[in-house]
């Protein structure tokens, strides 16, 4: 499948499970997106585990400018106060609209589980057609010692009361996926 088709399928399938998908052409846009979204929803805090130091300082400056609190690790000290989490995504699976995130870092896990809004940035060139085509990559990772790997598809949901679909029972209430067009083969 061509990259454009994969992006399209990914967008369509993620949309079916209530994820909001947008395209961006630089990571700076992701920073701005996360900040704006947090403000729009009248939320106050933002965290971003796993980003490189440069992006972090950029992001915390952005937060400061608009009066948002940037939450720094370790996040165990802030379990009750994480509103938005911005993270990278390792791989995308187009067939189901799933995000694959290597979540060995505890901060990354806490952020993506306890936040209200998860903003996840996925490189277009990292989208695979299905989980089977990703299996060798995943297997290598799993064989390489302790690890915690997550497939995330849409938001936390339940249908346990009268089978009525209800979003956001334990995990994030909203998932925003930003597909970074990185123009690689």
């Amino acid at each position: 499948m061509k990259q454009a088709d994969l992006v399209q399928k990914m967008t369509e399938k993620a949309g079916l499970v209530q994820a909001v998908v947008s395209r961006i052409d630089s990571f700076d846009h992701a920073l701005a997106y996360a900040v704006n979204l947090t403000r729009e929803k009248s939320l106050n805090t933002l965290t971003a585990p796993g980003l490189n130091p440069e992006d972090i300082s950029h992001l915390s400056a952005l937060c400061q400018n608009v009066g948002l609190e940037f939450v720094s690790p370790p996040l165990r000290n802030h379990l009750r106060g994480i509103h938005t989490a911005l993270t990278h995504v390792d791989w995308g699976i187009a067939e189901t609209g799933s995000l694959v995130i290597y979540s060995d870092s505890e901060d990354l896990r806490i952020a993506t589980m306890l936040c209200d809004i998860h903003v996840a940035c996925l490189s277009a060139s990292h989208i695979y057609p299905d989980s089977a085509s990703l299996s060798t990559v995943l297997k290598d990772r799993m064989g390489a010692g302790p690890g915690y790997l997550s497939f995330i598809t849409g938001t936390s949901r339940t249908a346990d009361i009268e089978r009525v679909l209800t979003i956001g029972v334990h995990g994030p209430l909203k998932l925003h996926i930003l597909i970074l067009e990185d123009h690689q083969p």
């Binding site: 399938k13 079916l16 499970v17 370790p74 165990r76 379990l79 009750r80 067939e95 189901t96 609209g97 799933s98 060995d104 870092s105 505890e106 896990r109 806490i110 589980m113 306890l114 989980s131 089977a132 299996s135 995943l138 297997k139 799993m142 064989g143 010692g145 302790p146 690890g147 915690y148 790997l149 997550s150 497939f151 995330i152 598809t153 849409g154 938001t155 936390s156 949901r157 339940t158 249908a159 346990d160 009361i161 009268e162 089978r163 009525v164 209800t166 956001g168 029972v169 334990h170 995990g171 994030p172």
Partner: protein, 718 residues
């Protein structure tokens, strides 16, 4: 506490209560309907049959090597910092887990959903040992608060209404809740359970896969509680049935592809978590998670070696066998299972929870094959249910009277047929001539059996009508033997006469081999396999299939039993192969062999609804032919809701569980009446009895006919 009746009397009380629960009936009915549609959509474009075969094969390959896979898993996981245990029994598993809690001075434990923990009654042990245990899956939390077991393997609280949940939550939180507002209830649960996540010292999860080649656990959840349970507390214990071991990630991914689609029609669960060994956890001083993985044997290793039952271990707990089960749809999971629910529950209960808990529930199966047709790992569930029934009968010294009767009578054709003839005479004063129903219930039946009018035995059985009408065609196009089956022979010979009328027209020579007897399915339904085998051998000898081009039957149940079970019951032979290959149902014979054409029939245009018999559409996979035959014969075929759902007959089932049989039948008849059809047609004489009896009871004008009768009626003469 889960209490499953140990006696059939107690069981009837439970069923009675379940049937009176209006909410349950509606909820399960809506679910069954929605499920079929979403499952079909989820599998669109996939080669489901191939996937099912692959998964069944992969599981079968793993089962004999479970210990080998376990050792490989243990080595990998322990190298990555986990501690791996093997518990022989449920008690041992619970003790290990309680020990881990004690060692780590835990007070509060949070759990994500685990059927295996339900199997071992883990919560009871932990609570007895003084630990506070909180279930965090919303459905599990609800039933925990209500002190009851799950009523579905995937949706544990499907038996409850929003009002029930709302008042429960109001009691628990002290906050008055709007009893209609589900979203609000979910928010309340989020808030209450969030505190539990943040304060508990230990998390317990199950697992959907244990990948041997990397020592990785795979856990699927929709709510995300699995991730929180495995991340926040310093200790994580996973309780995993040994059969969850798979050799490699590819196999796990295959299961992942099919499980959620088959469970609820979802493409994938919101979260799939793969954990290899001990990862970072700053709740502990060394910054590392304490991960214990407890594998549960509890009879699995022995089951894996069992030549008949090992296939039950293929189960991936998708719950689909309950979703489509008509009995489940009427009585729900608390009355159709113990811990494990639905068709697979009737089987596993015996192995994990003993004879007493299995005795009553295992009888509650119509043999409608719906479960088998959706099982993603091709477990022959109805067959195993009968096999479990047999084990229960063997364990119990006292046999039900009907089994003793079947064994003595069915084996001896002359005795059996003699009794039927005597009964035909004895019933005379009870029969109303004009419609062929018995107008007073025989004394052996109770009030519950009044839901349908009972058919009278025919005054003259087919075998007595046959000698005078026997014919010889000079140059027939085909020679066929008619396998009539008991109902056509003794209750509805008119269906055979209609068939013969058609065959004369098409120049087909029909013989009725006199020594044929009951096909043996009733014996099989009562788990009397030896009797069924003797009868199979008698019929094979009687039918002499090598003399005929085809053996035609008007009864789908006889046909599917002969095709599927005879080869298992009696030794292979050329005759058996011929019988198997040449046995054909009426509609397929007309459409695919005789190639009947529309111009051979009047065009009445009568509006007809069709009931697709279980043993035809699922037993023999015949779905197209009868519907095409109806159109070919000039009728207006009018599709009806749930055409392929069982009519509730199930032979002796409708005598043993009349209350459920009635509920299933009434639903069917309601749907038929919605179509506005003038006639309801089916191709199984057993279904005709049930449906016609029900229509008569309603005083409905809709006629019920065997398809052969309707087609023969429209045949152009000359």
């Amino acid at each position: 506490m889960i209490e499953t009746p140990h006696t059939i009397q107690g069981y009837h009380d439970q069923i009675h209560k379940a049937l009176q629960n209006r909410f349950l009936g509606t909820a399960l009915g809506n679910f069954a309907m929605a499920y079929k549609g979403s499952r079909a959509r989820a599998f669109e474009g996939l080669d489901l049959d191939r996937l099912r075969q692959e998964m069944a094969r992969a599981k079968d390959q793993s089962l004999p090597r479970l210990m080998e896979l376990y050792k490989s898993f243990k080595a990998r996981a322990e190298a990555a910092g986990a501690v791996v245990h093997l518990a022989k029994t449920a008690q041992e598993a619970n003790d290990i887990i309680a020990g881990i809690a004690a060692e780590n001075q835990i007070r509060h434990i949070i759990k994500s959903k685990s059927m295996t923990a339900e199997e071992t009654h883990l919560n009871d042990t932990l609570e007895r040992n003084g630990y506070q245990v909180t279930e965090t899956d919303l459905g599990e939390w609800i039933i925990q608060l209500r002190h009851e077991g799950p009523s579905h393997m995937v949706m544990p609280a499907i038996h409850l209404s929003r009002q029930q949940v709302g008042s429960l939550f109001s009691d628990v939180t002290g906050e008055r809740l709007d009893l209609e507002d589900i979203e609000r209830m979910v928010k309340v649960a989020r808030k209450e359970l969030r505190e539990a996540f943040l304060t508990a010292g230990m998390g317990i999860s199950g697992a959907n896969f244990a990948v041997a080649e990397t020592g990785t656990l795979g856990i699927m959840t929709n709510e995300g509680n699995g991730r929180l349970v495995t991340t926040l507390p310093g200790v994580h214990v996973a309780l995993v049935g040994l059969e969850k071991l798979v050799p490699n990630l590819e196999t796990a991914l295959k299961i992942l592809t099919i499980l959620p689609k088959n469970a609820t029609g979802q493409l994938i669960t919101s979260y799939v978590t793969w954990i290899t060994g001990s990862v970072e956890c700053q709740a502990n001083p060394d910054g590392k998670k304490k991960l214990h993985i407890v594998f549960l044997d509890n009879g699995r290793l022995q089951l894996a070696r069992n030549p008949i039952f090992s296939e039950a271990l293929r189960c991936i707990r998708c719950g689909a066998c309950a979703n489509v089960c008509p009995v489940y749809g009427k009585v729900g999971g608390h009355a159709l299972g113990h811990v494990y629910i639905g068709a697979i529950g009737l089987i596993l209960t015996y192995f994990y929870h003993g004879t007493d808990n299995t005795r009553a529930i295992v009888r509650n199966c119509l043999n409608c094959q719906a479960c088998k047709s959706v099982c993603p790992v091709n477990i022959n569930l109805p067959r195993l249910i009968k096999k479990v029934y047999r084990l229960v009968l063997d364990d119990d010294s006292e046999k039900p009277a009907k089994n003793i009767l079947v064994n003595t009578v069915l084996k001896n054709r002359k005795l059996f047929h003699g009794m039927l003839k005597a009964a035909a005479t004895a019933q005379k004063p009870l029969v109303k001539k004009s419609d062929g129903f018995i107008r007073h219930l025989p004394f052996i039946l109770k009030k519950e059996h009044e839901f349908r009018s009972l058919p009278a035995l025919a005054e003259h059985a087919l075998r007595d009508l046959w000698p005078p009408i026997r014919y010889r065609l000079p140059n027939p196009v085909l020679r066929v033997a008619l396998f009539a089956g008991c109902v056509v022979d003794f209750v509805s010979p008119e269906q055979a006469l209609a068939f013969i009328k058609l065959m004369l027209k098409y120049n087909v020579q029909v013989d009725f081999p006199h020594n044929q007897t009951c096909c043996g399915l009733p014996a099989m339904m009562m788990a009397e396999e030896d009797t069924a085998a003797e009868i199979a051998a008698q019929n094979l000898e009687a039918m002499q299939p090598e003399k005929y081009d085809y053996v035609v039957t008007l009864c789908a149940s006889c046909a599917s039993h002969i095709k599927e079970s005879y080869p298992r019951l009696i030794p292979p032979s050329a005759g058996l192969t011929r019988l198997h290959d040449r046995l054909i149902d009426f509609s397929s014979f007309l459409m695919n062999v005789l190639h009947v054409k529309p111009d051979q029939f009047e065009k009445s245009g009568i509006k007809i609804a069709y009931h697709s018999p279980c043993h035809l559409c699922r037993g023999l996979n015949v779905t197209r032919e009868p519907r095409e035959l109806l159109s070919t014969a000039g009728f207006t075929y009018t599709p009806c809701r749930d055409e392929d759902v069982c009519c509730g007959f199930g032979g002796s089932y409708s005598i043993e569980f009349p209350e459920i049989s009635a509920a299933i039948l009434n639903q069917k008849l309601d749907y038929v009446m919605e179509t506005g059809a003038a006639v309801l047609v089916t191709d199984c004489p057993g279904c005709v009895l049930q449906l016609r009896g029900g229509m008569d009871k309603r005083g409905s004008r809709i006629q019920v006919r065997h398809i052969a009768e309707m087609v023969a009626k429209e045949m152009k003469l000359g």
